[in-house]
């Protein structure tokens, strides 16, 4: 007889209170354009945190600040208990922040497999000298990481496109490969910038399932930007709402849905 397999339901509640990422009073401007003004929020370990808001609200800029691509003029970002004033993108990556992009940013000339293998770059340590021979340590390392990548490929069900150059893939699959590439970094915090944009219903449902599975099985904390309110309300544990670079609401989906300022921001106010 097979022992009953215990399937975890919902995201793991155990570490809920531990704060993984804290954004405090962050302001970012480009010349006269104030992209983000005095925004504070936190992301707890193991949760799915949504950032929503109308176009131009500063959501993507926020993600860019978190993974070190932009440097906010004011405010502090604390990740895993370490506050940093300025951080280069590769430092953020090596500390465990991975992300996907709003416009698919895959390496178009490379195969799916190679794209995901790039995600392992930071984990591969064998020096240049061994890379010259492709035998011995470098090859053993390569095989070790290939096995990890194959697990991710299985997990996201993209075995059939392993060898396909990603430029030839349909859009929905490209998004999935991008998720796979981010997962290959084994991140503590996964930033998803509109993972469902431009997808049809079926692809969206697949993607939602994958996001929940990632959260469940790997315990990865996820911060996502999404415009599909149904998806946001169903997936996320907590939602932060931005409008014109300011935070207008923060709370559980139900709270946010009932907030009059959020409704005004999305539907407009009668003057």
């Amino acid at each position: 007889m097979n022992a009953p397999v215990k399937i975890p339901v919902g995201s793991a509640p155990l570490e809920r209170e531990e704060i993984l990422l804290a954004v405090e009073n962050v302001s970012l401007s480009f010349g006269g354009v104030k992209a983000i003004q005095d925004v504070s929020f936190d992301v707890r370990k193991g949760e799915i945190r949504a950032i929503i808001g109308p176009n131009g609200a500063g959501k993507t800029s926020m993600l860019n600040c978190i993974n070190g691509f932009y440097h906010p003029q004011q405010g502090r970002i604390t990740f895993k208990g370490r506050t940093r004033p300025r951080m280069r993108p590769h430092e953020a990556a090596s500390q465990g922040v991975a992300r996907t992009f709003q416009n698919v940013a895959l390496f178009k000339g490379m195969s799916t497999l190679d794209n995901i293998m790039v995600g392992r770059t930071l984990k591969m340590k064998e020096p240049f000298f061994w890379q010259l021979w492709r035998h011995g340590p470098a090859m053993r390392e390569e095989i070790r990481h290939r096995a990890v990548v194959e697990d991710i490929i299985d997990f996201l069900q993209i075995q059939h496109i392993r060898r396909t150059p990603v430029g030839k893939l349909p859009y929905g699959l490209q998004k999935r490969v991008e998720l796979a590439r981010a997962l290959a970094m084994e991140p503590d915090l996964l930033l998803l910038d509109e993972p469902m944009a431009g997808m049809n219903l079926e692809e969206k449902e697949d993607m939602c399932r994958f996001i929940l599975d990632v959260n469940n099985q790997f315990g990865t904390t996820i911060a996502l930007i999404e415009h599909d309110m149904g998806v946001v309300m169903d997936l996320s544990d907590r939602v932060v709402v931005l409008e014109y670079g300011r935070k207008i609401a923060d709370g559980t989906p139900a709270e946010v849905k009932a907030d009059s300022r959020v409704i005004d921001a999305y539907l407009g106010v009668a003057h």
Binding site: P89, F107, M117, V118, G119, T121, F128, R134
Partner: protein, 359 residues
């Protein structure tokens, strides 16, 4: 029919990640190596070796070098000729300063000097890309070319103002200089090219190659995945210039033998190698060889091949026809197959795999 992968099962990741996973490809490679090492030296006459094969191998090596930079990392360079020159002059200085060390050691060491110079001129690549980087490397071309002519220390104050390649031996046979036979030079060059191509292939199929291609395809995403752009680009410049430098040293010591080589490493050489890479296929090692074969063998084939099959053509006319033809073919390729001969080869292999079915 013959080119079929059916029945070839891979049971390990190592087998799956092999550079030539298909048995037919491995047999083909072995056949090419056998022809290059055995058949050509046995059947080819001196003229064929010294005017066809040696130039082809030198250009292939340089094209592999440029392909690492332009094809794999996406950094356009017009300084190839100058980097080759650095290799040649470094090799000359080393070989005359330390005459007791084997010349092959100095040919390989000269690559490191070219790599260092390449890194210096690669520094602007963090800030500028595309055509602007091409212009920056053009500065390297002009500056270095000027140095080769104006700094007499580089050519040991020779009255001719050029390198005079000394005679050096390997296993008792003269390898460089006037008395070296084409066979010896061909063998030495072939060993260098095969070994370095193997290393290049190892690099581009591993972590380093993926980093280069990631930077080429989407540098922002690469940066956010933890790849340091400057390191990666400078590494590409270093490796590429190393290959070009060794190619330049080979060109001077194993092909030209000095003398007439006063202004050899000029902008025309840079352009020629860029054309080889473009026609052969950007981002493909086999393409580098195809492009080099195409551009370096075509002039000789026209000049001597046409009279051999009964079409009388004067040497000067052949030169002109060659220029016309190469120019026309470059335009043809850019329109019909921008990914070069390597892509045609890939398409052919794909068709053969499924033949006689369309897909």
């Amino acid at each position: 029919m013959l080119y079929r992968e059916a029945g070839q099962y891979k049971t390990s990741y190592a087998a799956d990640m092999a550079i030539f996973p298909l048995r037919q490809d491995r047999i083909g490679l072995a056949a090419i190596l056998a022809i290059a090492f055995v058949a050509i030296p046995m059947t080819g006459n001196q003229f064929f070796l010294s005017s066809v094969m040696i130039p082809f191998l030198v250009f292939s090596l340089a094209a592999v070098g440029l392909n690492i930079l332009t094809g794999y990392t996406g950094l356009l360079s017009l300084g190839t000729g100058a980097f080759m020159g650095v290799g040649a002059y470094a090799c000359y200085k080393l070989a005359t300063a330390f005459p007791d060390v084997n010349i092959l050691v100095w040919i390989l060491c000269s690559g490191f000097f070219a790599a260092a110079i390449g890194v210096i001129f690669g520094l602007p690549s963090l800030r500028i890309k595309g055509f602007y980087l091409a212009v920056a490397t053009l500065a390297a071309q002009f500056f270095l070319q000027w140095s080769f002519v104006r700094i007499p220390w580089l050519y040991n104050y020779n009255a001719s103002g050029a390198i005079e390649v000394p005679t050096r031996t390997l296993f008792g046979l003269p390898l460089t200089g006037a008395t070296a036979s084409p066979e010896t030079r061909y063998f030495a060059l072939l060993v260098i090219v095969v070994a370095l191509t193997w290393i290049a292939s190892n690099l581009v199929h591993g972590r380093v190659g993926r980093m280069w291609m990631a930077v080429r395809d989407m540098d922002i995403a690469a940066e956010l995945m933890g790849i340091r752009l400057l390191h990666t680009k400078l590494l590409a410049f270093a490796v590429s210039s190393f290959f070009c430098g060794v190619a330049g040293a080979c060109m001077m010591f194993l092909w030209y033998g000095g003398g007439e080589a006063n202004d050899l490493f000029n902008i025309n050489l840079s352009f020629n190698i860029l054309f080889m890479v473009i026609i052969g296929g950007l981002g493909s090692l086999i393409g580098s060889f195809m492009g080099a074969a195409f551009i370096s063998i075509l002039p000789t084939a026209l000049k001597f091949g046409l009279p051999a099959i009964g079409i009388p053509i004067a040497g000067a006319t052949a030169e002109h026809v060659n220029l016309l033809l190469v120019g026309g073919l470059i335009i043809f390729f850019l329109i019909v197959e921008p990914h070069g001969l390597a892509r045609l080869w890939q398409i052919l292999k794909q068709k053969l795999r499924v033949w006689p079915f369309p897909y």
